[in-house]
Subunit: 318 residues, 2 copies
């Protein structure tokens, strides 16, 4: 049996057809464009699913369920997206809307939770009792495991780790607070800093790589240029690692997990990100004489969102 998994992100909708071992057979994506409103976004989700089935030469009968990972707080029981600050959506009955287009059971969960579940089932958190999955994307999401189970909190929104204030009085966040960690350590922060630095250094590789069209600069460009030794990019990257470490250190002091696993777009920087982050975290934790959480990278590459969402359908079908 196969599963459709949809990762509804702040920037893109990614969808995939996934087998029962978590292997992505086909995947597609399109921009989210949440400003168009919920119906247009759900229509695109349905269209991606239909395209995937066509690609696979499959029909709805080959698929057991659709899982959807979304930003924000979900009421998984009702299949409703209660609130998502990155999408500006409130109380959207995504499962019901999607089912009008696709005759399949639909399961909904917070995207970071879905990705964390996939990581815990199939990836770097397998067998870990107390672990934290951190997604570094448009925002920062988290999924906390305690005693091997997701800790969802009392009202369903535990581990909203992007919204601890690290810079009191700082940049205003989409959530309304000033100085949230995700304003400083999610992908857009790396991009913004990269653009500003490239603008100030027109001879840098960082400027050259986009031919001076700084609006085209991506987080991957900053990482690639830093990896290539460009001083401008390196300086931006090191400052970013510092911001990332600040938050991870706080999370270690708060959760004291055995493992912190990094996923999401920025984690694709791989060991180039992980090594300096490990050093900065080790230098900053308060109990330097004691062990602290092992930091690692997702073992599911860029597909944790899709696989996690698909695994929701599988888990629910058990």
């Amino acid at each position: 049996m196969q599963y459709l998994g949809i990762d509804l992100g702040g920037t893109n909708i990614a969808a995939g057809l996934v087998d029962e071992h978590g292997e992505v057979l086909f995947d597609l994506s399109c921009p989210t464009g949440s400003a168009r409103g919920p119906q247009a976004v759900v229509d695109d989700m349905a269209a991606l699913c239909a395209e995937l089935l066509q690609l696979a030469g499959a029909t709805y009968r080959d698929v057991a369920a659709i899982g959807v990972g979304t930003p924000g707080v979900c009421d998984a029981r009702r299949g409703t997206l209660v609130f998502a600050n990155n999408l500006h959506f409130t109380d959207v009955p995504i499962a019901a809307m999607l089912q009008q287009a696709l005759p399949l059971p639909v399961f909904l969960e917070n995207d970071a939770t879905a990705a964390g579940i996939a990581e815990h089932e199939l990836g770097a958190l397998r067998g870990v009792d107390n672990g934290l999955f951190v997604t570094l994307g448009t925002g920062i999401g988290g999924c906390l495991f305690i005693d091997g189970k997701v800790y969802a909190g009392t009202h369903g929104y535990a581990a909203e780790i992007g919204h601890m204030v690290t810079h009191a009085g700082g940049d205003v966040c989409t959530c309304g607070l000033a100085g949230c960690w995700e304003r400083y350590a999610a992908a857009p922060a790396l991009i913004r800093a990269g653009r500003a630095a490239a603008k100030a250094a027109p001879r840098s590789l960082l400027h050259h790589i986009v031919n001076g069209n700084l609006q085209n600069l991506t987080a991957k460009d900053v990482v690639d240029c830093a990896r290539a030794g460009d001083e401008t990019a390196l300086s931006v990257f090191h400052a970013y690692v510092h911001e990332l470490a600040l938050g991870v250190i706080g999370l270690i002091h708060l959760y004291d997990p055995a493992v912190v696993c990094l996923g999401g777009g920025v984690a694709q920087a791989g060991e180039f990100l992980l090594q300096p982050l490990k050093e900065a975290v080790a230098a900053g934790v308060m109990y330097k004489a004691l062990p602290h959480a092992r930091l690692c990278l997702t073992a599911l590459a860029g597909d944790a969102g899709i696989v996690g969402a698909a695994m929701l359908g599988k888990a629910a079908g058990k």
Copy 2:
């Protein structure tokens, strides 16, 4: 049967003789003076216990055990204080040292954990599954309950909530990090701000209450003057509530507990602190349409440290 409870704080050592219902029969305290080194501090702890027994007309035979709550990380099994940044103690075998002076079983635990256990057994967190106890004293400590049990973390230092960075690049903390929450929201922050404000406002009640001897100004003075309507004190107090709220909001986003219970010296400000804190937290949480943790005050007044420590002995004796 009775229990001796010792609350080893950054500022004072408080000790009490406690009955099995958690009632403090007699209590005494003395300054910690941790700069004198561990042996002098343990000697004072033993002397307080001896005085308490004398006051009660009791002997060691009337006491089942001694419980000690200390700042920092404890190895409860070995009875060792592994590391305490506020005391500058490392690897001190407190239980063994204390037993040389007092022929009783000694149980050691982090002070915030001990206070949280008392609150959960006898106070405002009774019957709460997911709850957070927050001590506002010389530093800020925490004790997290998940599914009705203390969550100690993987290495024994979960809920070190004073050491999440809220002011990146800010004041250097005793733990070595810059900008830890406890630098801005523990009692010394209130005192420092009170002194600075009083110095700048020699006609304020805040200045008058200590006859201009600003080094004598306490956190309670700031609260008392604010309560009396002194504008200078009110401004300091409101800024303090703002800092406290910043951290509590972060903790709600991270732990999503059902209840956050405030204890420690600053919590003695009572409803005068709780009401504006509730308003600031409600205004700041990201999911305003959803319920969030109920905030409340310790039901054990200033004795949670002593009772918590004493209850360690009782719990261990079961």
